[in-house]
Subunit: 215 residues, 4 copies
DNA sequence: AATGAATGAGCCTTCATTCAT
DNA sequence: GATGAATGAAGGCTCATTCAT
């Protein structure tokens, strides 16, 4: 957490540091990223990170917090419509965010790093930023499948939905090599629809209880 | 690639180095892992890595290769039964492998690291180890949905299936915190069934062409 | 080439590093010299070499440059008098420089090392520092022998003069053992005169064309 | 000094090691030369140096001894003729040896290294190999200049002669850059004659006592 | 006798952090 | 407040040497 300063130039420096650090952490990971590269890309002096964030790790935590606080997940809560429509909207937004060449691409990558190998930053933002988003998806799935399935089934189902979105976050590099057409931003709308179709079919089957696992 | 030695103790040393390195790379990532920690855990000399593998990066590549070459994906090709049964078997095997407390847990983690942020090891094993496995799943999905859907739809569908498995690989730490019951090995059989149910429902919908994306 | 810093203490640190490095490089050669010994002798931090000179090799190049830029050869150009007097002055200055116990003795030795086995530093200073000095001696010899001899003869003659001086640079250790009296600084004035006598006799013979090689 | 073995293959291995080591020491110097490169070039196993010569330093000493024992200096003693003719022959042989592309070129270079920076090998061979050669040249110079000049003058004169030969040994690399024509083997005969002319003129002047240093 | 696999000391360099200004 | 020069700890790697065979 940065020292809270009111000074406008301090805030500007912090903002530039977070942006530069996000890029470098995304490209190289926490350890391989060097303070020198971050400060040079931010155009600030060598000591700025220690001055504003105490150390590299705290800057990293701030970068993770920043990245997670801007994910679009939260917005689906504000949307109306049928549950089906809201699930489609949710998936579209997440996929669009991942593929949008306009948005800083480092946000998703640093989060992926941290999820695979938590450094403490994950726990620092778990309750503020992650649990509420997870709850939203949980509630939406419950609405879609009704009261029949137990909580374990709900957990599986919501992760099946989330997994399909996260997949395109975690495996960008692999997909570039295996299925370049799936990496192209112009196909992301169709991809989102297909994920939604697939997911709604899976959820409806769960709602009907016609699955083998329900026997 | 290690120097090929016939000596039995050399092979033993290499094996112990790969195992120790797998653990350390999984815990810390390629850059944060130190050769000192690896060699100490393996109980060998500091110079052993350079002697047997030339350098740290080549040891890492060997760890990735080792991890991937032991994934069970390939075995589903040998299984008989209907396509549905083979998909269920495939998912069960992958999930069982991820949750099996007997198997070294670092295999999955190092692969996850490498997929998110390739270091060159990914490309070194792409054609040998990854493409054949990807092709198997592609063919199975095609069998299940018939000739109707185009290749893009097949690609989306197979990644939707794969994504649900990978999710439990990539997000172990997150799941421990959000849904401890989904991290428990004793629930992995039910989890696998639910993933299979969800996936088969999604694939059948694609086969029927009753999806919004088919309009 | 050191980073150009204005700071006075930085310049002081660089000066001390060059002086310490000169000693150690002279004693041990480029490869056998360790940065640890250099930095300890300079009383600075281990990282100072990399900070000020990027790496050991660049420090070495700077040492060579420093050593060559302080040779007295260049001054003979400013001296007046007959060509004979100028040659005597030139030889006296070079010999005096080599034997002067006040001047750091490493300058000559590091240059000798680099001339025998160039590491890249030689080429870095060839055009700046070596060719101009070589040209001065060439011109002086040409003046002394007139237009008769061809360029090859001039080349041989100027190297015969230079060789007698360089000999006492290269073979200090050998001379200490074979002819201690020739290593004594108090005899250096007589030595310089004898070299000059010997050389002027050789040059006059060349000018007269009474040599066997001119037949 | 190698363990004296009668075994023919042992002698063969030592010979190959000395030859390979001579090349590598000449190219890189004592420290930068690696045991691995030497043994590989010699086609022997890693431990051969320690086995046959105890350690790298003793192999190096043996290389120096080998190099010095084959210099042609000694042969002039066997030659007849006037002192002038014998000096010409001596200089021709030394120069021819340095420029002869047929002879292994590392001999001169390793000696030059050792003369500039004695490692102990110099002292090991000083009395056997160096003093006798130095004495021969001393005696020849004394014969040429008669009894007039004192020993200091003789010392200066003989080093003036030797210096002109050594110069082309020590400064090979520099000469390649400054005067390529003086590096060409086909010009070495003319070079030797010019050195002899220059030297004989210098010695005759010393004999006549017409030098400034004699005043 | 001769080998080559394995060792451990030590090297150069990098880098997050500090401190005088 | 903010800087950038300087630090020291630690990292990966090399290499002469050893030792079991």
């Amino acid at each position: 957490m940065p020292n809270v300063k009111n000074n406008a130039s301090t805030q500007e420096t912090c903002r530039r540091l977070i942006d530069a650090a996000g890029q470098v952490f995304a490209e190289r990971g926490l350890h391989a990223a060097t303070v020198k590269e971050i400060t040079e890309r931010a155009g600030v002096n060598t000591a700025a990170i220690n001055y504003h964030f105490n150390d590299k790790q705290e800057l990293y935590t701030e970068v993770i917090r920043h990245a997670l606080s801007q994910t679009p997940m939260i917005r689906e809560a504000e949307l109306g419509g049928t549950p089906e429509e809201r699930l489609r909207t949710f998936i579209s937004e997440v996929i669009a965010d991942l593929f949008d060449p306009e948005r800083p691409s480092w946000r998703a990558t640093v989060v992926a790093h941290e999820f695979i190998q938590p450094t403490g930053a994950l726990d620092a933002v778990l309750d503020d930023l992650i649990r509420p988003r997870a709850q939203l998806l949980h509630d939406l799935v419950r609405e879609l499948v009704g009261d029949g399935p137990d909580e374990f089934a709900i957990a599986c189902a919501r992760f099946s939905v989330a997994a399909q979105c996260f997949f395109y976050l975690y495996n960008r590099e692999l997909l570039k090599r295996l299925s370049p057409e799936l990496s192209a931003p112009e196909n992301s709308a169709e991809l989102a629809e297909r994920i939604a179709d697939f997911s709604l079919a899976g959820l409806k089957a769960l709602a009907r209880g016609d699955a083998k696992s329900a026997e």
